[in-house]
């Protein structure tokens, strides 16, 4: 079975380069450590908060604060998995071995996605439990309403960030160009759009803003987000599908 062969091959590829280990480790460490730090700070600030802020205090979401930075490591992971092929010239060797480009691309992305999912879920659970430990008496419990959904959702969110990056990198090929577009996109654009009401509406439909909705358990007071947690993740998934379709279409007709 050709697809099974490609999956086995891609697993060998992904586990035999150092960048896999360091990008994923960085994602884990940064997400958990930053989440713990922000949780600890939030706990000490809680007493000074106004009633309104206390009402929307979301201990689950706070423990995921590290994802804002940790997701960048996931972006790098996703970009490198794909663009390494291009920057090293390996793509020619790979496509000569597997000329069915769809099988090649989706075999590679499947392997990287499963790996990212396992790491992301583990990270999400660890960030939650360690973050709650820092929050002390303000902590949420996994059994609380919507919390398990948020924790699993956190893992899915990180995974989708990585897959979206893989799709974009397939389109752009160059690692520098891909990172140069994706990093500001996830780190700056969303918050910049949030400054102005008119653009805030648009910003809500960007993959990271829509997707991160799933990690919220307590919505902000007078929240008017037009979609729910799963709706938000669905919007993010559409972005991912679009990036993958774009990447596949280009790979299919381009010279390698």
């Amino acid at each position: 079975m050709a697809a099974a062969q490609v999956v086995r091959s891609e697993w060998t590829k992904i586990r035999s380069v150092a960048s896999t280990v360091w990008t994923l480790s960085l994602a884990v460490v940064v997400t958990i450590a930053l989440g713990m730090l922000i949780s600890a700070l939030s706990r000490s600030e809680f007493d000074g908060m106004g009633a309104r802020d206390r009402l929307s205090f979301d201990p689950t979401f706070i423990s995921f604060a590290g994802m804002s930075l940790g997701q960048l490591a996931m972006v790098v992971f996703g970009v490198l998995v794909v663009s390494n092929e291009y920057s090293t010239g390996m793509i020619r060797t790979s496509l000569a071995a597997v000329p069915q480009r769809g099988t090649f691309l989706f075999g590679k992305i499947a392997v990287a996605t499963v790996l990212a999912l396992v790491v992301s879920l583990a990270t999400s659970f660890a960030a939650f439990f360690l973050g709650q430990a820092m929050l002390g008496e303000h902590r949420a419990s996994l059994g609380d309403d919507g919390v398990l959904r948020a924790v699993i959702g956190g893992g899915l969110y990180m995974t989708l960030i990585a897959v979206f990056s893989m799709g974009v990198a397939t389109m752009l090929r160059s690692p520098m160009l891909s990172l140069g577009i994706l990093v500001p996109f996830f780190f700056l654009i969303s918050s910049v759009l949030g400054y102005v009401d008119a653009t805030e509406e648009v910003g809500r439909f960007l993959p990271d803003q829509a997707g991160s909705r799933i990690m919220q358990v307590v919505p902000p007071v007078d929240d008017d987000t037009p979609y729910g947690p799963w709706g938000g993740l669905g919007i993010m998934a559409l972005w991912v599908v679009a990036a993958l379709v774009g990447g596949y279409a280009l790979l299919k007709r381009r010279d390698a």
Binding site: T88, G89, M90, L95
Partner: protein, 317 residues
């Protein structure tokens, strides 16, 4: 067998490969010769389905490349660009290729042994010398024990021992009945390994001939003459029915006459000769001549002057 039919590749206005039709046959080494930029690598990438032809067709044993099941077991290729992730070990590089084509792991150890990289198999490819990288590429080509092998400039970067090794390897592979297609920009290299020659220049087919035929037609001898009384000499030769051709630097070249005969002729007419030397045209010269008009990047100083009457006879198409 590799069959090309009207294979053409255009990049915008520029035609990289122009209507190539030829067949690479099994059991012999076929040399693919052309100056740098002639379109050899582009042709090879199209054979492997990496680049899409603008027009024409190429088939591997009658099938399109992307229709091959486990292509590495049918055709193995060493491409010019390295095509190896520098952070991956030689072993893992070959292992991932083997797995993608259902080739047993045992073959990885075998080919590493064949190319002499067993000792460094676990080392990252970035530490490899040019020659070691070339050996790793050859190992990848041999991995699937394919019936067809294609090497793009395989001797590049190899030391003399490595060059000898690759020559022997190619001949052995052909003797086993495999199809061996190897590109080079060096005629001398081809003369030592190839049984058949395909020559291209600026993407066009210039020759498709057996090596023996090429040598026979091109290693002709001629006589070079230099004389201060050039006009009178030309006159004398003309009257004797001998055609002389100018070869630059004021020298004349005469085909099909013995130096002794010309010397006696000159003595009888009391002509002073500064040079009278029998010459043997080298294959390298013949190749340069053949491709002279099609070389893309000329080195202008001391460019060889093309002698027009050569090579025309066996130009195809």
């Amino acid at each position: 067998m590799i069959e090309l039919e009207g294979l053409t590749k255009r990049y915008g206005e520029k035609v990289a490969v122009n209507d190539l039709t030829f067949t690479v046959r099994p059991g012999i080494v076929t040399g693919f010769l052309g100056p740098n930029g002639a379109g050899k690598s582009t042709t090879m990438r199209m054979i492997l389905g990496l680049d899409r032809p603008t027009a024409g067709d190429v088939r591997i044993d009658g099938t399109h490349y992307d229709r091959l099941k486990d292509p590495l077991t049918c055709i193995g290729a060493l491409l010019e660009a390295k095509g190896v992730h520098p952070g991956r070990s030689a072993y893992h590089h070959l292992l991932c290729l083997a797995q993608s084509n259902g080739i047993p792991r045992r073959r990885v150890h075998e080919v590493l042994d064949t190319v002499g990289l067993t000792a460094v198999a676990r080392k990252k490819a970035k530490g490899f010398s040019l020659g070691m990288g070339q050996r790793l590429g050859i190992a990848a080509a041999l991995l699937g024990d394919p019936r067809i092998l294609m090497f793009d400039e395989p001797v590049n970067g190899l030391d003399p021992e490595g060059i000898h090794w690759i020559r022997t390897l190619m001949k052995t592979l052909a003797a086993q009945g495999r199809t061996v297609f190897v590109s080079s920009h060096l005629m001398s290299e081809m003369a030592l390994t190839a049984d058949h020659l395909v020559v291209i220049g600026q993407g066009r087919l210039l020759a498709d001939t057996s090596m023996a035929d090429f040598i026979e037609r091109n290693s002709r001898s001629y006589v070079r003459i230099r004389s201060p009384q050039r006009e009178r000499l030309l006159d004398v030769l003309h009257r004797a029915g001998i055609t002389a051709v100018e070869s630059g630097n004021g020298a004349l070249e005469v085909d099909g006459s013995k130096a002794e005969h010309i010397g006696e002729l000159a003595a009888r007419n009391q002509l002073v000769l500064h040079e009278l030397s029998p010459q043997q045209a080298s294959l390298e010269e013949a190749f340069m001549q053949l491709t002279a008009e099609s070389v893309e990047y000329h080195a202008h100083a001391d460019a060889p002057v093309p002698r027009q009457q050569w090579g025309d006879g066996w130009k195809r198409g």
